[in-house]
């Protein structure tokens, strides 16, 4: 066995001193056995590297799967809240003035006569009416007065936050106009953007 055979891998990895590196290179020009072994060790190293890449590529990426239970739970809660609100509204309906009653002031003189809104103003008026009815009997949490979308890149260095995640700040104001409370929550804009358009 060649006396240099134990230094071949260290030479491959450039872990020898400078003089030893030069000596080894000189030796490799003359020794066929060491050249053959060097080729074998290089091949084994390359195979091991390929193996590492294969393991990494074959390992399932569960990042997105991890969001699915959270999103499902959020959707379930939303459905539950919406259903509860509808059921409660249905029960209270007889006690509150119906749309029919609103447009027939003679049957309900206590209800102020509504102005007939233009067609394009129906949506905001309905929204106001719903909020007014709900606030009579549902202890709704205070809604954020202002919602500010903040790009994650403005707060974190690139790469520190998952791509497609931004933040929304819900700000509540006190009656005097000062900011009373701020809540920061993440928003998955990538999912929103990737939703196929109909």
């Amino acid at each position: 066995m060649c006396k240099y055979s134990t230094k071949l891998i260290a030479w491959l990895d450039r872990e020898l001193e400078q003089e030893q590196m030069a000596e080894m290179e000189q030796h490799l020009r003359e020794c066929v056995e060491c050249r053959v072994n060097i080729a074998k060790y290089e091949g084994a190293s390359q195979l091991f590297d390929d193996y590492c890449n294969a393991v990494m590529a074959a390992e399932p990426d569960r990042d997105r799967r991890r969001w699915i239970p959270l999103l499902s739970a959020a959707a379930a809660i939303l459905v539950l809240v919406a259903t509860t609100a509808v059921v409660l509204r249905t029960r209270v309906q007889p006690l509150s003035p119906s749309p029919t009653a609103i447009v027939q002031p003679a049957q309900s003189p206590l209800v102020p006569e509504p102005a007939i809104p233009p067609a394009n103003a129906m949506r905001p008026r309905r929204a106001r009416a719903k909020r007014s009815q709900a606030s009579n009997w549902l202890p709704l949490p205070p809604q954020p007065a202002v919602e500010v979308a903040i790009p994650a890149d403005s707060m974190f260095p690139p790469g520190a936050v998952p791509e497609g995640v931004n933040f929304v700040a819900d700000v509540n104001f006190a009656p005097d106009g000062s900011a009373r409370q701020m809540r920061l929550r993440p928003r998955l804009t990538a999912i929103e953007r990737s939703t196929p358009q109909p």
């Binding site: 891998i9 084994a44 091991f48 890449n53 294969a54 074959a58 569960r62 991890r66 520190a160």
Partner: protein, 179 residues
């Protein structure tokens, strides 16, 4: 891993002080650390958690005025120790047959994955599984681009011992696999 997103939570204090160094090291070593941890047997989720904890430890280390020489070896040592603490995951890689994991690797429709054919893969897997833990870890760290000195720091071994271990492991693979 290209284009893959990672969930990481760093406190603002981490970003404010020593942020450049941590961020720079994070960019350089995140992928090699993830690959090392996954090859040790951790899932990608676990590996990402460990990488996150490792960089938080680095921030604390630097903030406390810890030594900055051989910081790459230091990072791998912290990650390695956390991986070893997850015993179940650590031993998973070589305790289970890899066929299901490697099924996509022999798909000839993906040229990048044609590098390893199925038969070669099985023989290679056996050869690597037959290595000792320290031999395998030395090779994994070497494949991550670490110098022998850094591998020694990561595994708590003398540099000369690392050299001997790497040589022994490479010889074993080349003999068993007959490259």
């Amino acid at each position: 891993m290209t284009g893959e997103s990672v969930q990481i939570t760093l406190p603002f204090s981490c970003l404010a002080s020593g942020a450049r160094e941590v961020t720079s090291l994070y960019r350089e070593l995140r992928e090699p650390l993830l690959r090392y941890l996954v090859c040790l047997g951790l899932s990608k989720d676990e590996a990402q958690d460990v990488v996150q904890d490792t960089f938080l430890s680095l921030h604390r280390h630097l903030t406390a005025g810890g030594a900055q020489n051989n910081i790459r070896g230091w990072l791998f040592r912290v990650a390695h120790n956390q991986a070893r603490n997850r015993q179940g995951s650590y031993h998973r890689r070589f305790a289970e047959p890899l066929d299901p994991h490697f099924a996509p690797m022999v798909d000839e429709s993906t040229p990048e994955r044609m590098v390893l054919e199925k038969e070669k893969l099985h023989r290679l897997e056996k050869a690597i599984a037959a290595l000792t833990d320290s031999e395998r870890e030395c090779l994994l760290l070497r494949a991550s681009g670490l110098r022998y000195r850094e591998i020694g720091e990561a595994l708590g071994m003398a540099t000369s011992t690392v050299g001997d271990t790497v040589e022994r492991a490479i010889r074993k693979i080349s003999e068993k696999f007959d490259v």
